[in-house]
Symmetry: D3
Subunit: 141 residues, 6 copies
């Protein structure tokens, strides 16, 4: 009855726990403290981050799926979660080297990590929830 | 003071519990098992599904509403929730007959069930949450 | 490595508790009761409202941020939360005077309160959650 | 295999939206304002209340249940939710007449409303969640 | 400073998705339907179950832990989650054979599965959440 | 009508974000790594911690309250949240000096911080949620 392919958006939620601090290395410690406040604490603080990865695409008629979520889970684990979970984002994460560890920068870096590995459908949005009151989204623009 | 009509999006969340399995009848059992894994279990498994129905439209100046949410609730109950709740999606649901019971296909079928019955505003999005880690959205395209 | 500025969406969630009733003063009490049902109760009822404010913009290279969320929090507190929290929306809130206290109207009024005070980035969306089953979004159109 | 009856605790969550204010009629308005702050606002404020009702008892071997949750839902609706939902707790609720509308007093009053109507098992706990940051429990002591 | 050992309660949450139906084989189909309503649907329905396992014990001074939560996670996975996830509780689960698949009975059966494998501390409570409105707890009595 | 005082339990939820690592200084780095795995990462990781503080007591007839939650909030902020929020628990927190930074030890330390400052009612339980899958409770025993 329904022959026209339908564009659906599928989302997988993953999770990691990490430490970070907000710190601009070209500023003095006092300037960092003045601007970032307690987020600049030199011994770091941390969060439970929730990560939502959304793809868009057409369901395959044989499987009813845009992309197998088990595969998507593996891709996210390999290229993002294993590199961030229980890590210090300022010190331990290769794809954040040389960047200020703000959630705005992290969300763009996660997009860049995942995009080459999405085989079915297209990466549509990365949403990163830092606390129950703050989150950031990036649509690749 | 505000005379230009404003386009607002209203969302109603409903809920149903159902069983399903992922199974392509033109494949062998072994092929289904190989592709869908435990989601193909022949005795079914199930979920608590959360359904979000979003309309867009202009608020009526007499009521302040796009559509009375009590009416929307009744429409969703009649055409979707009563047909899915405590049911087996592969066997008991007329509007899923002949379709693979993936959430991608279910969300499109729910759109088709609701769309003819939206009298005020326009159906904008159906979001179906299968587990706390997986969800699908469909915007009618 | 990344030189092109990236458009990110940042969201801050705030909260207020308020009383309201749905009531059209140009209708009789019986007409209000017939249309709005228990939502028209003359002694009011209330909700815990969750408010999501989303901005879009480009991260400042010096701070990694679109807008300092501490500043955004202060703006929301001053122009919205302090005026609504523990208040009666029909009686106590200057920016709702003369308007039906529906969530569709409240969400537009909150947009108008905040928009002049967003200094970095652009106001993108106001989302107001009235109950765990109902919410409204407004994108300024 | 298991012959000894097992003591299980079953909980049903229900929901109501209501207005209230904290106000001691034997104090002056200034004293109320000084003690209760914005919670004393004379035009009321409101909340979405979540109510958890817990029974304890032994599962009936014929039904596997302590008490049919459909029956428990009906009892809670009749004696509690229908009397509180979309109401003003200070003015509209018979079983709160003459009492300060604090959650501590409401939770005891809800216990007294329900206890005579629990036919299977025993009322064990009433938990009332006022906001995502405040809740009260009462065990009948 | 603190020498007396302290009794702490630690909880691990796990998750499984399963199908079930409420059905007493010694009743007729009509009797099952009359008592259990749509929960008796012969083609099954299903849920996302959240499982909370609580131990009590004294923290080991060398590790600061009652029991390594990674080990507890493995025990729960082996003896409970792998046997229930994506399964039909009435048909596929050895430790539920011959029992009515009510959450009251499932929670006791899960206790019996786990108890012999808790090496540090003591099993204190099993809580099983069937829907956002229903849950059951069992303390081994 | 109700003259006997009623024992009620009130809970306040607060929140902090912090970094920590699991590390026993009397073990080698290799031993720490072997036992604690990625939780021992030398550059720290972090969490959003939810803290629930429960008091028990009798409601004051003049206020309807066990303890003014605004006061309790201030006590928790002064003695716990201000010392933990955006901090490194291993390095920055006076009341955790010399202790392994496990949640079992943190929860006992929080009890000791708060107990001398509870003026109405009695401290009943501290619950600390580290991730959506792990939490610890302590009742002062």
């Amino acid at each position: 009855m329904e022959h026209k392919p339908k564009l659906v958006y599928i989302t997988r939620k993953e999770h990691f726990n990490a430490a970070h601090r907000l710190y601009n290395p070209s500023w003095t410690d006092a300037e960092n403290e003045a601007f970032f406040g307690k987020c600049a604490n030199k011994n770091y603080h941390g969060h439970n981050f929730d990560l939502y990865v959304t793809l868009k695409g057409y369901a395959d008629p044989n499987t009813g799926m845009v992309m197998d979520l088990k595969k998507l889970k593996t891709v996210i684990k390999t290229y993002v979660v294993d590199k961030l979970d229980h890590m210090n984002i300022n010190q331990d994460v290769d794809f954040m080297k040389g960047q200020l560890a703000s959630i705005e920068n992290i969300v763009v870096a996660i997009w860049n990590q995942l995009e080459p590995h999405i085989e079915n459908g297209q990466l549509h949005c990365i949403k990163l929830v830092e606390t129950e009151r703050n989150y950031v989204e990036y649509y690749g623009e």
